[in-house]
């Protein structure tokens, strides 16, 4: 049974949204989805680059009221 988890990394600078995502992706099982919340515009570029390089799956990425909602599925 795959899980969905929200990781709230809004208004944080260190370790920052992508580091938070990596932390939670390590805890997740293959098939789980993590939704990362971030107010850092760079996250919308950084996350897909990391996800593509490492072989996970981008589910969606959208900005709602100044907050990026980026969903990633663990694929390996």
């Amino acid at each position: 049974m795959s899980e969905e988890k929200v990781v709230d990394a809004r208004n944080t600078y260190c370790p920052g949204p992508l580091m938070e995502l990596i932390t939670y992706m390590k805890q997740a099982q293959v098939g789980d989805t993590i939704e990362l919340l971030s107010t850092d515009n760079g996250t919308a570029v950084d996350v897909p680059e990391w996800v593509n390089k490492i072989g996970h799956e981008m589910v969606s990425s959208e900005k709602i009221d100044e907050v990026w909602h980026i969903k990633v599925r663990k694929a390996r």
Binding site: T12, Y13, C14, G16, L18, I54
Partner: protein, 377 residues
């Protein structure tokens, strides 16, 4: 009102001392009590390990007896907790003793998990423990030249440490006159060379000046200690002669064993610092799952908020302040310069050029820490 603090590191000790002074009258009148349970009778100044790894401090300089740091109206016991029974407002210790509480603070900290990466323990040096720092220094002393790799696990304590150790390696080999025989390569998990954008903007030209190579998007998958090769999840490899690891961290085993939080990180409200689901349980420092640096500095500022709020709850029935995400980190830029990063949830750090004065301030702080942890600074 029984206040129980579990963990005698930076956060737990500052909270205990701060509360002991704020509640001196209540404690004298037997209306409040503070008990601190720790796994050790000694308190370590952990940032000093970086200096031990370069032969600049001796290990015994890092320690004080915990009892000597605590106000006299605190009950201190070396008896780590084995069971958290939060629904009964009690904990059970390894010695079998049950402690009831009205307010609990969990300050158990974090630990390195090199075992998570095959071959890392055998193949790499690290400075996150006393034994590791001494071993790393001996390896550096014997090193004659070749490829030195720095590799960073996620999550890790002290996010500035990867940058600091790189500066120190450059200065160390330069001072020994062998820098031209050493190739230093810095590997970092995300797609810039530090998680804080302004630190990356500051450090990148410094690394270029020192001739340090950088590879980003490098998440360590395994180390072949025999052939001295490390491999990343992203598919790249690095052949090293000396590997320096900032290992992945977890929270303490007791937190995992009691199912308080995955990987030992306890779900915590980012402003109140209360454990999610429990109004009378606070979490501080590395133990939290907050998206904030795992550093003594964060623990220090959180500890002040928690102590002030527990005291105000006892005195007027309500907390008075929120944690704003404040962190202040010194950044050693080698053996004679430093700068700092100060930030909170709303304001990113604005780094200044490294200079000698900040380095000497940091060297002074290495001594002033003992005043800080007493809750006086």
């Amino acid at each position: 009102m029984k206040i129980l603090i579990v963990g005698g590191g930076t956060g737990g000790t500052i909270i205990a001392n701060n509360l002991a002074r704020r509640l001196v009258n209540e404690i004298r009148a037997h209306k409040a009590s503070i008990t601190l349970l720790s796994a050790s009778k000694r308190h370590m100044y952990q940032p000093g390990l970086l200096y031990v790894a370069f032969g600049q401090m001796m290990p015994d300089e890092l320690y004080r007896d915990e009892a000597s740091l605590l106000e006299s109206n605190i009950t201190f016991e070396v008896d780590p907790v084995s069971k958290f029974e939060l629904d009964k407002n009690q904990v059970v210790t390894q010695a079998g003793k049950t402690h009831k509480y009205d307010i609990l603070v969990i300050a158990t900290g974090s630990r390195i998990m090199p075992k998570k990466i095959p071959g890392l323990e055998e193949g790499a040096e690290t400075f996150y423990t006393e034994a590791g720092a001494i071993k790393m220094f001996k390896a550096l002393r014997e090193f004659k030249g070749g490829n030195v790799g720095i590799v960073v696990g996620v999550p890790h304590k002290c996010p500035i440490a990867p940058v600091e150790v790189t500066f120190s390696l450059h200065d160390y080999f330069k001072d020994r006159g062998i820098r031209d025989k050493v190739n230093i390569k810095y590997h970092y998990p995300i797609n810039r060379m530090h998680s804080i954008e302004n630190v990356a903007k500051w450090a990148k030209p410094e690394f270029d000046r020192m001739g340090v190579e950088i590879e980003t998007l490098f998440n360590l998958e395994e180390v072949d200690a025999q052939n001295k090769v490390m491999k990343s999840m992203e598919g790249s490899e690095y052949k090293y002669d000396l590997l320096i690891s900032i290992p992945e961290h977890h929270g303490m085993e007791v937190v995992e064993d009691n199912a308080l939080g995955r990987d030992g990180w306890i779900p915590t409200d980012r402003n109140t610092l209360r454990m999610e689901g429990y109004d009378n349980v606070y979490v501080v420092g590395d133990t939290t799952n907050l998206p904030v640096s795992k550093t003594g500095s964060a623990a220090h500022f959180q500890a002040e908020v928690i102590a002030e709020n527990i005291a105000s709850i006892i005195k007027i029935g309500t907390p008075v302040i929120d944690y704003d995400g404040k962190v202040y980190c010194f950044i050693e830029a080698g053996h004679d310069r430093a700068t700092y990063a100060m930030f909170n949830y709303d304001n990113p750090p604005d780094l200044k050029a490294a200079n000698k004065s900040m380095h000497w301030f940091k060297m002074s702080y290495n001594k002033m820490y003992w005043t800080s942890v007493r809750g006086l600074l």
